[in-house]
Amino acid sequence: MATVESLDDDIGHLRDRIATLQAHRANLTSILLSQPHLPTRLEQRPVLHERNRRNAAKLVQRQSNRNLENVYRACAGVTAYRVKDPDPCAVDNGNILGVRVDVSVGGRFVETYHVLFNRPNAAHKTTLKIHKHTVPPCIPLHPLANKWLPLTRKSAEEPREQDLVKFGRRLRKELASWHLRLEALEKLRKDAQLPGPIAPRDGLHAGSEPGIVLNAFISDDEDSQEEEGSDEQDDAPRISSIDGDAAVREITLIWSNGRVGLFKVTKDGEVDKAAVRTKEGTRDASLSSKALGRIDGLIQRLEA
């Protein structure tokens, strides 16, 4: 008798297969629709219903729009588009200029960010103001906007010079370097043979601690200096954790013997300041100086 599990399994397999086939079909469709000269051929061949021809032409048009958009996005990195704010009360009749930043890391596009501008000043139609955006707060969007897209102060009537192109370029640089630093941090973890960070919302109840207590040092306990260093006697201390802040401007390394290293990273991925302290609190100058350099080889330099 077929058990419920095996039936469920079968259904699951079928669903997977359907999904694969659908993806395949969609892929083939887009290839077919992207054929050169397809619109002309559609025009020339006789069809049974005129409506089908119109439908097909519409699909081809949509596909070619998509292709064009993607080519621009993939090659330029920063692209602009127009959207309409559906808010009936929006300024400037809801005309919105969108700027899209595509970030690619390691040959694939990892994330897309949007900055949406409106024109708050009816007198100066070229003055743009950030309306909405999806840029994380660890990216200095506001300073960038202040520099390249300044708005009129109340007193000064004339708007200040704005440079959207430079703004977009700088923003893309910030975003791309952030993603590269994130990637480098992941690679450091791999170099040190550590598991990746816990996925959010995973295993809150796995019996593990919900977090790392950062101020255990503040305890005024006199007799806290007992055992706990039992695994300290290993000859080669391992790196037990690698942690970075959200912007990956600061990396914290903890060794299994209680040594802690703090490394400041510049935006282009250079470790420019380092401080390594042993468990007793003395500075390890040789390790600190070894750490300086590109972020990529940090682990190798430290373990060398």
């Binding site: 127009r82 601690e209 959200a246």
Partner: protein, 513 residues
């Protein structure tokens, strides 16, 4: 027994992790009765971990020998070692049963000598993580106080510039303690949460000049007010959420509020360093849901793209640049249709005019259209089950009251012509205000129109999901509804002028200064 001299002298120390409260203390009882069985077992195991043992000493067999104790009426025999206890709690966690079993074991058995401050703090944080809607949070922003001299320097973006306040746990704690210890004694626990992108600081306020264990236990009988204050820093942003940890039904007295304010005032000072001073600025956002806080004032992409703009956050609208598949019957694509159509040049609210799709749906075309309008206005936000509910949204309407005689006519006209937005605004009677900047409230008094103080409060478990449902039901006209009703302004309190939430001029939404 006379207390030793150094215990009665007022001192300048923090309350250490290892100080214990008697198990009968009200705070202890309250916290432990709230926790679930699973959480209690997990906590006990954490406390027994090697690194935490200094802070959470259980009552072991060895301790009883020291006491020379009375072991006739005891319910739980003390364990031999930490390891044995760990085994016991692991078994308890694996077994089914009531939470009382573990609660009694902890309070009357293994920690009968008292619950340490560290244990109490971790227990409360555990409860907070289990029930992310249990407290009311106010989101603030750490804003740099502009410094006249190097104003331009501050805004410079260079290869190694920082635009966020630097958060160094040790330095921060030392600074905070320095600010606070002259005023009060407190126990601090700073914990970086693994499962959510944030760091929690719990401050247990001990309003006494002493930091001894005896004085901690003493204020058992005094007024019943909330003593703990929570602060949360979402990672990689300059926001701070603050809350008073009051138990259900417990009042927050003026004293508690005052102490909270003292701690709150000390926080920007603890962040500040020479030539970079910070202050806490309001962000007009209060809610109970931590998830909503992380979405509206968090570390991610969603801060300044709420409401209908949420489509820009996910891959719904921004597909991969190398994804060439423009599928035909993609439903997500349909949802973005409203905006896309608008971009092409049709009217904003025309909705995707594709009625053919409704064949498989049983709803009428009007209902479907309303649903699509709602999808266009709300995007992927404001779903009833997304867990991002705001409970209370309050706005003040600063627009002029519509002229009395024409009021009824206006309402009629509104329903008839949908697309004439400029005309719409003109009928509000303040065409002169249309193009002006929004930031002067004095304008209202100068103008001759009557601007009454009208306030609208939305309340419920998920305000904007409710508005969305009203739009889908046709109660609220989704096309003429102002944008702030979709939640896109990202505030829970604000003033509306010309249909928009008033913002400070030149401020980037969700900005970090």
């Amino acid at each position: 027994m006379l207390p030793t001299p150094n215990t009665i002298v007022p001192d300048y120390r923090n309350v250490p992790h290892s100080h214990r409260l008697p198990t009968s203390h009200r705070e202890v009882q309250r916290t432990f009765t709230k926790l679930s069985r699973q959480s209690l077992a997990s906590l006990a195991n954490q406390w027994l971990a090697k690194k935490n043992r200094d802070f959470c000493r259980p009552y072991l067999l060895g301790d009883r020998r020291l006491d020379g104790g009375d072991d006739d009426d005891e319910q739980y025999t003390p364990a031999q070692s930490h390891e044995e206890l760990q085994e016991i709690y692991k078994q308890l966690a694996a077994r089914k049963g009531g939470k009382r079993e573990i609660q009694h074991r902890i309070l009357d058995g293994d920690w009968r000598t008292g619950i340490s401050m560290y244990q109490l703090a971790t227990a409360e944080i555990q409860y907070l993580l289990d029930h992310t809607n249990s407290l009311r949070w106010t989101a603030k922003r750490l804003a740099k106080i502009p410094n006249g001299k190097n104003l331009s320097l501050d805004m410079e973006v260079t290869n190694d510039s920082e635009h966020l306040p630097r958060f160094q746990a040790q330095t921060f704690m030392a600074n905070l303690a320095r600010e606070l210890t002259p005023l009060m004694k407190a126990h601090y626990l700073l914990i970086k949460i693994k499962t959510m992108p944030m760091t929690i600081l719990r401050v247990y306020i001990h309003d006494s000049p002493y930091s001894t264990e005896a004085s901690l236990a003493l204020d058992n009988g005094s007024s019943d007010t909330a003593r703990a204050v929570f602060f949360i820093w979402p990672n990689g942003s300059n926001f701070v959420y603050s809350s008073i940890a009051n138990h259900f039904g417990q009042v927050i007295s003026d004293d508690g509020r005052h102490l909270r304010d003292i701690v709150q005032q000390a926080i920007p000072k603890a962040f500040s360093r020479p030539s970079a001073r910070y202050q806490l600025a309001s962000t007009n956002f209060t809610t109970k849901s931590l998830d909503a806080l992380l979405a509206y004032r968090g570390p991610g992409k969603s801060n300044a793209a709420s409401g209908g703009w949420s489509i820009f956050q996910d891959h719904n609208f921004s597909q991969n640049a190398l994804d060439f598949v423009a599928s035909q019957n993609d439903h997500g694509k349909e949802k973005t249709g409203t905006r896309k159509d608008g971009a092409v040049g049709a009217t904003a609210k025309a909705g995707p005019g594709r009625p053919k799709h409704s064949l498989e749906d049983k709803e009428t075309s009007a209902a479907k259209r309303r649903r699509e309008v709602a999808a266009g206005r709300f995007g992927s936000s404001a779903q009833p089950n997304d867990g991002l509910g705001l409970e209370r949204v309050e706005v003040r309407i600063d627009d002029a009251f519509p002229a009395m005689p024409g009021a009824a006519d206006d309402a009629d006209a509104d329903t008839s012509n949908v697309n004439e937005q400029p005309a719409n605004r003109n009928r509000r009677g303040r065409p002169s205000l249309l193009d002006r900047s929004l930031d002067e409230i004095e304008e209202l008094e100068d103008g001759d129109a009557w601007v009454p103080d009208v306030r609208v409060v939305f309340q419920g478990s998920h305000v904007f999901a409710g508005v969305r449902q009203l739009v889908e039901q046709g109660v609220v006209d989704g096309e003429k509804m102002p944008g702030w009703m979709t939640g896109e302004a990202g505030v829970t309190i604000g003033a509306v002028k010309q249909g928009r939430i008033r913002t400070k001029s030149g401020q980037v939404p969700g900005a970090c200064v």
